[in-house]
């Protein structure tokens, strides 16, 4: 049976097929829209084979490819070799992006590193706030990826494949687990721009549900205009007038259902209810006035400023409301040139916000059940590009994880002395996905959907491994 049939039959089973039944639900909901406590959206996994450490994911995508060498991977040896030729033994015959075929010169880290956190881990001094919560964070310094250009690399990080058309990880997770949010989508995406001007494009396919049903696609929450596309009523139409129309639409649909028995009608009615509920709930979600100055100070944001920090605060609000997968994109990490100043901008934009998110969730008792992942789409070369920047690089990068199921205060794996290639406990993107699914209680190699003849999985065809060392 394919998933569409499954859904269609499931709807028949759960919603019942009589017009009275459907109409009754509809009318009750519309009479008092906010009282609509629709059942959480169920996933397809009937029971989880593993303990569920994390109930939700907040994935912080640092788009553009952050330099591990100016953030979390300490390479004093690279500083020593600054301006010296890169050892040829390391780079011969390897895949580079814009540096392909050029003279390769070592480029020392552009900012000092300092010991921080309970174990005195050296991280870049531009990130003191993240340093202050290192006890909750597991740094993975041995991450690698297959792709080396932004677009395919994002696809690989999001879907486990470089070919378009595969479901994003947020879609996989909501497909498997459903969502606890009754009046919000289960998979929400937020984007923010950096001040450095290297804002790489991001395609909507990055949060596409691919071959899974569209209801699992990521829904973008926007900082400007309608927070959700088409959320706001047309000019002149009040909520009451909107409600009256939806009431009539649902009644007429229920009457039609009584005559035709089309199971899609019950779903259609439920979706109009959901849409109407979202029209009320999303503005409430976006209204951060209720947060109070202390919280706003913690994050360092102003309501409505569209910043990464604001989005982190929104992520917490979404998490509280039961959203399953929250993905933030913060752009402007593509430092082919001027990495020294570029990283400074980025640190100012994300350092406090990341700390605030961890702290805030912790204070609310939600960190244990929330998995936070910080990751770009690739790392950057230890070689200089144009004397001030670094090129794309897929052999070493840093990713960090915190919260549900993750051991804090540790560093997992290592790159070589120059930060060129991961050498100890080398991790792949599929391993990262496997670990995330593991924390959510999902056995990654048994979680598949038939697509083009394959048991398609987020973790791909080849064997992926859960990073057991980093689990609590």
């Amino acid at each position: 049976m394919n998933i569409h049939e499954h859904n269609s039959l499931a709807r028949r089973a759960f919603l019942g097929r009589t017009a009275q039944g459907v109409g009754g639900v509809a009318l009750a909901a519309l009479a008092a829209p906010r009282s609509l406590e629709a059942a959480p959206q169920r996933g397809v996994l009937p029971s989880l084979p593993l303990p569920q450490k994390a109930k939700r994911v907040i994935w912080l995508t640092m788009a553009g490819g952050p330099s591990h060498l100016e953030t979390f991977d300490h390479k004093p040896k690279l500083a020593e070799l600054d301006d010296q030729p890169m050892p040829e033994s390391m780079t011969k015959g390897q895949q580079l992006a814009q540096l392909q075929g050029q003279k390769l010169i070592c480029f020392g880290p552009q900012h000092p590193f300092k010991p921080m956190g309970p174990s005195g881990t050296h991280i870049c001094e531009l990130f003191p706030h993240i340093g202050s919560v290192l006890g909750d964070i597991c740094l993975i310094n041995s991450m690698t990826t297959d792709a080396i250009n932004h677009d395919p690399a994002h696809m690989f990080m999001n879907t486990g494949s470089q070919i378009a058309g595969r479901p994003s990880m947020g879609s996989w997770v909501t497909y498997g687990l459903g969502s606890e949010a009754a009046d919000l989508p289960g998979f929400v995406v937020l984007t923010s721009l950096g001040r450095g001007g290297q804002n790489q494009p991001i395609a909507a396919r990055q949060w596409s549900s691919g071959f899974l049903p569209s209801k699992y696609q990521g829904v973008q929450l926007r900082g400007k205009g309608d927070p959700v596309l088409y959320l706001t009523n047309p000019n002149g139409i009040t909520r009451e007038r909107q409600g009256a129309d939806i009431h009539a639409i649902n009644l007429l649909n229920a009457q039609h259902d009584a005559l035709t028995g089309d199971p899609e009608i019950a779903t259609r009615i439920a979706q109009y209810e959901m849409a109407f509920a979202m029209q009320a709930s999303v503005p409430g979600l976006m209204d951060m006035a209720a947060e109070g100055p202390q919280t706003l100070d913690l994050y360092g944001c102003k309501p409505g400023d569209g910043s990464f920090a604001s989005n982190c605060l929104l992520a917490r609000r979404l998490a509280e409301r039961g959203v399953r997968f929250i993905q933030l994109y913060h752009k402007d990490w593509d430092h082919h040139g001027g990495v020294k100043d570029g990283i400074k901008f980025k640190a100012e934009e994300i350092d406090r916000a990341c700390m605030a998110l961890i702290t805030d969730l912790k204070n609310r008792g939600m960190l244990d059940s929330t998995l936070i992942v910080w990751a770009g789409e690739f790392g950057r070369t230890p070689m200089s590009q144009g004397g001030s920047g670094r090129d794309h690089h897929n052999k070493a990068m840093t990713v960090w994880m915190a919260g549900g199921g993750i051991k804090g205060g540790i560093v997992h794996g290592a790159s070589d002395d120059l930060g060129y290639a991961a050498v100890d406990k080398i991790c792949t993107v599929h391993d990262l996905h496997a670990t995330m699914l593991h924390c959510l209680g999902i056995q990654h190699d048994a979680f598949s959907v038939k697509f083009q003849g394959l048991d398609a999985k987020l973790t791909g065809v080849e064997k992926a491994s859960v990073l057991k060392d980093i689990l609590v």
């Binding site: 499954h6 392909q100 984007t191 909507a204 049903p213 829904v219 959320l231 009523n233 979706q271």
Partner: protein, 853 residues
Amino acid sequence: MVHGFAGRRRGLSMLVIGLAYGWPIASPIIAAAAGPTAVEFNRDIRPILSDNCFSCHGPDSSHRQADLRLDLRDDAVAAGAIVPGKSAESTLVTRINVTDPDEIMPPPESHKKLDAKQKELLTRWIEQGAEYQKHWSYEPPVKADVPAGTNGIDHLVHKRLSALGLKPSAEADRRTLIRRLSFDLLGLPPTPEEVAAFEQDTTPDAYEKLVDRLLANPHYGERMAIGWLDVVRFADTCGYHSDKPRNIWPYRDWVIKSFNDNRPFDQFTIHQVAGDLLPDADQDSRVGSAFNRLLLSTDEGGAQAKDYEARMLTDRVRAIGATWLGQTTGCAQCHDHKFDPITARDFYSLGAFFADIQEGIIAQREDGMVVGTPEEHKRLAELDAALAAAKKNFDAIVPQLNVAQQQWEADLVAYKVMLPELAADSKASAGDKNLAKQVAASLAQEAAKRNGNDKKVLQDYFRTKATQLFKAERDGFAKAEQERNGFYASLAKCLVSVKSAAPRTVRILPRGNWMDETGEVIKPALPGYLPQPKIEGRELTRLDLAEWLVSRDNPLTARVVMNRLWKQFFGTGLSRVLDDLGAQGEPPTNPELLDWLACEFMDAKWDMKHMVRTIVTSATYRQTSVASSQLLAADPYNRELTRQSTFRVDAELVRDAALVSSGLFVPTIGGPSVKPYQPDGYWENLNFPVRTYPNDVGEKQYRRGLYTWWQRMFLHPSMVAFDAPSREECCAERTRSNIPQQALVLLNDPSYVEASRALAARLLTECSGSPEERMAWAWKRVLQRLPRVEEMETVMPLYRQQLAAYKADTKAADDLLKTGFASVPADIDKAELAAWTHVARVLLNLHETITRS
């Protein structure tokens, strides 16, 4: 094949269990539950072996375990896995029945498990001799005998239904029939007048006449094009990174025209794959060859040419696989296919057919070929000639002009002449003053030290400001250039296939790795497991591939195309997996029917309209879609065609229906893609360059959905909401979802709000009766039927309530009526119009409105 009632019951209960546990259900539910009849390899056994065993014991040699193949009978028998007639001696049977986790097959880590029914089938099949069959879709289709004068579809459907003990449903009513036909053949709802005419036509061939009329309607080509544009991934932008626009829309119009002109499908195919290589290649066939250019491309600075060369090759092979072969060729990019006999060599050999196509690997796409009328081409040739002549005249005077310039420069320097713009009392513009300053600065340099820009500044100034010499020649050249370029810019252009003199070298990429150049260099060749073309003594070309795709020997193309066509008219393919007719796909529920359609298609010389007519005039197509509860129980997914199906129309048609009902519809066919209203900032994540979305004004605002600008990275959100694919990959089958975003689009997207108020204005202008009569008018316009009593009782109070509200709040009415560009009739009461806008909006939001049944 006889299936009793008990068999059906068992089939259903299996289905229910399968549902509860999320098991995949063997497709012909009923057949699988048949009693102790002969086991058939293709129907019963291959799906089990393919899904559970072939991954390690199949065609892929690199992953094969224990050197055992179960996909080839001789190998399986030689290895003792199968002892025909003796299941107890067959290790296959032993291994699937042991309990030891180290021994059991499939092994636990595969997360595959055989159920009792599957084990029993395998055992019985071996007992019966373990006969293999070639995979069904690789065998040539066989045309069943159909009694003369009978529709082959009906004959074969009824044959199967009577074997199953099922009966077809009655014919649908006329209103349903014309609405169904209009959506299926034109993608548009019928007008109430057309419905009335059909309902009143008592001639015996009324239906057939209607079908002929619709097939002759030029909107037919648009409707047919939608599915094709999905599968070939037609889009207006390049797809990767910057997602820049490219010139490609003439191909879309070519597809529409091909369907309208009923271009035989073999020609349709050949033009797309190799229209540039035909001996009589012309503009038309070359535009068809734009197919080869529809793939994703990039102009990202850091991209590696070899990487993208490999991506483009694989993209093209997947496209051939999806569009014509129904094979998931993509699997063989890295290794021999695990389930189908396609090897990595087959994959790259197919890719080698396209190595001759000129394509910038890391580049912005070129303008493409000018697509014009003969007059336009003539005019362009004239302008080109005029430009060449003017240039010749100009070139002739350049040496003298240069001498004059040198003299002028020397004089300025020698006599320290101040340029007039730099005089204290000059009234020259700031721009001119600035230019003059640059000239002065350039002059200050020694002639030998001037850079390119210095020289250009001096030359421009001299020629435009300082001299009258040869003015006629210079002006003539400038004018000719301007005229030619202006005219060229106004012409349509299209990326097309252009053969390169030096084809790219194609190697097998080990594990798909583009950095590994150790693989063998490969020449174009067709997949080894399919019948080969009879060409010897020369290298195969793209044209050979194109002709082979539609040769009678190819068992796949006709089946693949007919299976997709079937979906358009019944909601599901005969084989449900449209993009995979291989081992992991689904054998067709009615194989005889799919084969008959495929053969009929080829016998009729690939006549698409003939096939469409055959399908829609069948009694099977004309059945009602309303299912009795018995029918629903016996055939829950309508796989046996005991009725018609009900489904929501495609994204484009949701829009079209609203435009037609409201009267805003602009029926123009073809032309550049259009930009309907779109929320501000929706493109904010595009970059290089940053872009805004200037929505179209005037007629372009009201064009059919299929003309919507197809921005791959951010497809129009109302299209996305209704499952239109981004067309980054070939899409043989759209999902058909039912999500809250669809409600938000129909309720709040300005296109639909505007359609609602236009429909309301039309209703108030064209129908002058009572509110009830107007309600009936609106119902007929949108749904082509009268409202039922309970519907009237639902919607009249809404109208009165909204009317009262707007009478009390006229500003709100004003605000609502300002949505969209369409004018508001001056002589209509605004509150009245606003209230009817709500009624119209409710109608345009109904499930029935966007459903074809």
